[in-house]
């Protein structure tokens, strides 16, 4: 461990999150006890080494939080992956975007402050000087109109990526996303395709207030004709970005405000992930935990505790919010017979609700217990830190839920 990897934690925008990711080819994974850290900052490496750091500065947090370097090392099947490069999630998104823009001149970015400002979360930094103002278009504040413009451009041969500065702003573009994005391929009898990508950061951040903390995946999920994916690691962020751009369908890519500074080593060679597949995060035997986006890290944090208590959870990052990868999910259900869904969406009408219905419909015979779904409270996200924490699912709740499920 060196000072370099501490950089994300010293940034003003540094995100503090209680998470530990663990990827391993082996089934069993033991986390060492972290009580040795004694309130100091510790970094939990994916290979279970812990490094302690003294003197991290006046770092107060409400609860005992671990600052971890969430390194997600994928199974290395090719030797050349060993030489990969480390970067942050927003850099991974930018890399994917840049590669696609170089590859296909029809790919362009449309959004507020994407050009000269470099993107409010720096995803498009450096692209405007490189590709020009027309390819990385700074728009006036008119979400409905510029999303519609992106759709019109997509229908006439371009491949635009529309950025919502915050996903919540895309509520203003709901007309265009629902009526035009989703429907025009169908109502035109297949004559016009709409290869557009709509992306932006969403989810509950750090005391951003109710309107900037929305989870739009639940609102968009019913729209026929669109696909939705959520990225959670630098690896899958880049892969999904590229896949979304190359897809002929309209894709909504959900990023999370708190995950932009995740660091990971990703392969040097080009790779594109599948938009429809889920990701096996941690294989297990006792219970299937389905999650996506930031909740993945809460789940992995809870997994640590659960493993210590003797449980063996299987964690799947569903990634594809619409459509669901029923194969990966089904295989898991058939193995463990218990399902827990952990999401950041609201309880009513969220992704978890749809997933519960889908699993019940398809795999009811394989279930030993009713599906449990942990979602955020049906509450406009409060500003106060304590209230905000209680709105969102916390690792302790996940542990309790698994214990209850596995009785």
């Amino acid at each position: 461990m060196n000072a370099k990897s501490l950089r994300p934690f010293l940034r003003p925008m540094a995100t503090l999150f209680q998470a530990a990711t663990a990827f391993s080819a082996s089934n069993k994974f033991h986390f060492p006890s972290l009580s040795a850290c004694n309130g100091q900052m510790c970094v939990l490496r994916s290979d279970a080494r812990i490094n302690q750091f003294l003197n991290m500065g006046p770092h107060k947090s409400l609860t005992q939080r671990l600052l971890t370097n969430a390194v997600a090392t994928k199974e290395d099947t090719s030797a050349s992956s060993k030489t990969g490069h480390e970067l942050l999630l927003f850099e991974a998104l930018r890399e994917g975007l840049e590669e696609e823009m170089e590859r296909d001149p029809r790919v362009c970015v449309i959004g507020e402050d994407v050009g000269h400002y470099g993107g409010s979360y720096k995803v498009t930094k450096g692209l405007a000087p490189k590709f020009g103002d027309l390819r990385v278009l700074d728009t006036p504040i008119a979400e409905n109109a510029f999303t519609g413009m992106g759709i019109g451009a997509a229908m006439t041969g371009l491949r635009p990526i529309v950025e919502g500065m915050n996903m919540g702003f895309l509520l203003l573009a709901f007309n265009q996303i629902s009526n035009n994005c989703g429907m025009l391929h169908y109502t035109s009898g297949g004559q016009f395709k709409i290869p557009i990508v709509v992306r932006g950061p969403g989810g509950v951040g750090r005391q951003l207030g109710a309107e900037h903390s929305q989870r739009l995946e639940s609102y968009f999920q019913s729209i026929p004709g669109i696909q939705m994916v959520a990225c959670s690691t630098p690896y899958n962020a880049k892969g999904l970005m590229k896949a979304a751009i190359r897809s002929e369908n309209p894709v909504i890519l959900f990023e999370h405000v708190l995950l932009y500074n995740l660091k990971e080593k990703i392969p040097d060679e080009e790779y594109v992930l599948s938009l429809e597949e889920a990701e096996m995060v941690r294989p297990g035997e006792h219970v299937t935990i389905l999650t996506y986006s930031r909740m993945r890290y809460h789940v992995m944090q809870a997994a640590k505790t659960l493993v210590n208590k003797g449980y063996d959870p299987e964690v799947i990052d569903i990634r594809s919010l619409k459509p669901f990868d029923l194969y990966t999910i089904g295989n898991s259900v058939k193995k463990t017979h218990r399902v827990l869904i952990v999401e950041e969406c609201m309880r009513t009408g969220g992704i978890g609700a749809s997933l519960t219905a889908a699993i019940t419909e398809n795999f009811n015979d394989y279930l030993d217990a009713p599906i449990m779904c942990l979602s955020s409270q049906d509450v406009p996200t409060p500003y106060a830190g304590t209230l905000e924490e209680w709105t969102v699912v916390q690792p302790a709740q996940i542990v309790t839920a698994v214990e209850k499920l596995c009785q």
Binding site: P105, R106, C108, G132, L134, R135, T139, P140, A142, N144, A145, F146, T147, G148, M149, G150, I151, G152, A153, A154, M155, T156, G157, L158, N175, Q176, N179, N180, L184, H185, Y186, T187, S188, G189, G190, Q191, F192, K193, I194, P195, P224, G225, Q227, S247, E248, N249, L275, E276, E277, S320, K322, P323, F324, D325, L326, Y327, T328, G330, N362, F363
Partner: protein
């Protein structure tokens, strides 16, 4: 049906220039909510020097030009016949639609274009095949003018598989990739951003992809009601900002279903809103195809040269109700009679005959021909098959992998039930 005790509503635009020269007066002016200003259109207005466009009322200009000399006509014989044929096609087609609707061959919302043909013909007949047209739900005639065969449009209305949108769109979603008709939108104003996007595409091709000869223009047609909607203003701003090759054509027929334009708009002169965004705003007599064509030529050429968008307000009128379900009891019969007297087809006929461009017989031949075209379209539509079940899930996604992976590990679109249309998505 509610009884309307306040018998007469607003008196329509009282304009200086009418083709018969005298201002119209209607029944007693009753007070109402909304603009109480009488509309007066003033010829050349000098704007704020910062604004780069001068607004001119074109009708005066064109009328003078017409009166000047008979040897300097606005159109040639061939052009005249093309315009006449197109307008007659629009009219006959829409009349046939009404017949078919009441006979139970088409359903839902059908919005007819009778009376507004001059706008569609005047603009669209100037376009190339690669130029795009974006319309609203009143889109049959726009599609026809652009070149979509009448039989394809009629089949679409009947909901048959041979329709231009395979029967999946209906009256309000006329699309044609071949003829670059990009809709067909049911919600007003939602097509304007799409049109702006098509224009952006054209500019992108020229400047980024370096397709030097790409000068495709996009026309966005919409009505007076749309001009109070946010998307309209957002797009005016963006189009003027980036000098997009687009022409915004307002078909101001004074009524948005039952809402009079004057009751809903603080400043009813829509053309004025163009200069507010830095583009020329023009008002034209939309019942006169030659005037519309003059203005259209200028606007389209301007866009083609890369000088940016134009806002054209066409004063027009729909002879029928908003849709076939609208009893149309609200509009003043005197108003309707006034505009019926300005029927664009009769006007062009009169012009052509008076200026010896065509004989009565030639025009009758065209009318007969169109009658046959429309009859044939109906026959074709009648004989066409309904969409089979297998078509249900076909066009939901351009890439059907979007339906996802099924429990068996295969993509769901590979399931035969999908191609049969019996799978539950």
């Amino acid at each position: 049906m509610m009884s309307l005790s306040a018998a007469k509503f607003v008196e329509p635009l009282s304009l200086h220039h009418r083709s018969n020269g005298s201002p119209m007066s209607f029944n007693a002016f009753t007070p109402f909510l909304g603009s109480t200003r009488k509309l007066r259109l003033i010829a050349p207005i000098k704007l704020n020097p910062r604004s780069s466009s001068t607004v001119v009322s074109v009708s005066d200009l064109v009328k003078d030009q017409k009166r000047k000399s008979t040897t300097n006509l606005l159109i040639t014989k061939e052009e005249g016949l093309v315009l006449y044929e197109d307008m007659v096609l629009g009219r006959s087609f829409e009349d046939m639609c009404a017949q078919m609707y009441y006979r139970g061959k088409m359903f839902g919302f059908v919005h007819l274009y009778n009376g507004q043909e001059a706008v569609s013909t005047g603009f669209i007949k100037l376009l190339k095949k690669e130029d795009s047209v974006v319309s609203t739900y009143r889109d049959h005639v726009h599609a026809l003018s652009k070149g979509v065969p009448a039989r394809a449009v009629m089949s679409e209305l009947f909901g048959k598989a041979t329709g231009c949108s395979r029967g999946q769109g209906g009256s309000m979603h006329m699309f044609s990739k071949e003829h670059n008709v990009i809709g067909g939108f049911a919600f007003i104003a939602e097509g304007i951003p799409v049109a702006t996007g098509a224009a952006f595409s054209s500019k992108y091709r020229r400047e980024v992809l370096k397709e030097a000869d790409c000068d495709h223009v996009t026309l966005a047609f919409f009505g007076d009601g749309t001009c109070n909607n946010g998307q309209f203003y957002e797009c005016l701003n963006m189009a003027a900002l980036w000098k997009l090759p687009i022409v915004f054509v307002v078909e101001n027929n004074l009524w948005a279903i039952g809402m009079s334009h004057l009751r809903s708009t603080s400043d009813p002169q829509i053309w004025k809103k163009g200069p507010a965004f830095g583009m020329p705003g023009i008002h034209v007599d939309g019942m006169d195809v030659l005037k519309v064509r003059q203005v259209a030529k200028e606007a389209v050429d301007r866009a083609r040269r890369g000088e940016g968008p134009t806002l054209v307000e066409c004063e027009t009128y729909r002879f029928r109700g908003h849709s076939l379900a609208d009893p149309d009891e609200l509009r003043d019969p005197a108003e309707k009679a006034h505009y019926a007297g300005r029927d664009p087809i009769s006007a062009l006929k009169k012009y052509m005959i008076e200026n010896k461009l065509a004989s009565e017989q030639e025009l009758k031949t065209i009318e007969k021909k169109i009658e046959e075209v429309v009859e044939e379209a109906v026959e074709f539509a009648d004989a066409s098959p309904y969409p089979p079940r297998s078509q249900l899930l076909e066009n939901v996604f351009a890439d059907p992998k979007g339906f996802g992976i099924g429990p068996d590990g295969k993509y769901r679109c590979e399931d035969p039930k999908f191609t049969e249309g019996t799978a539950h998505v």
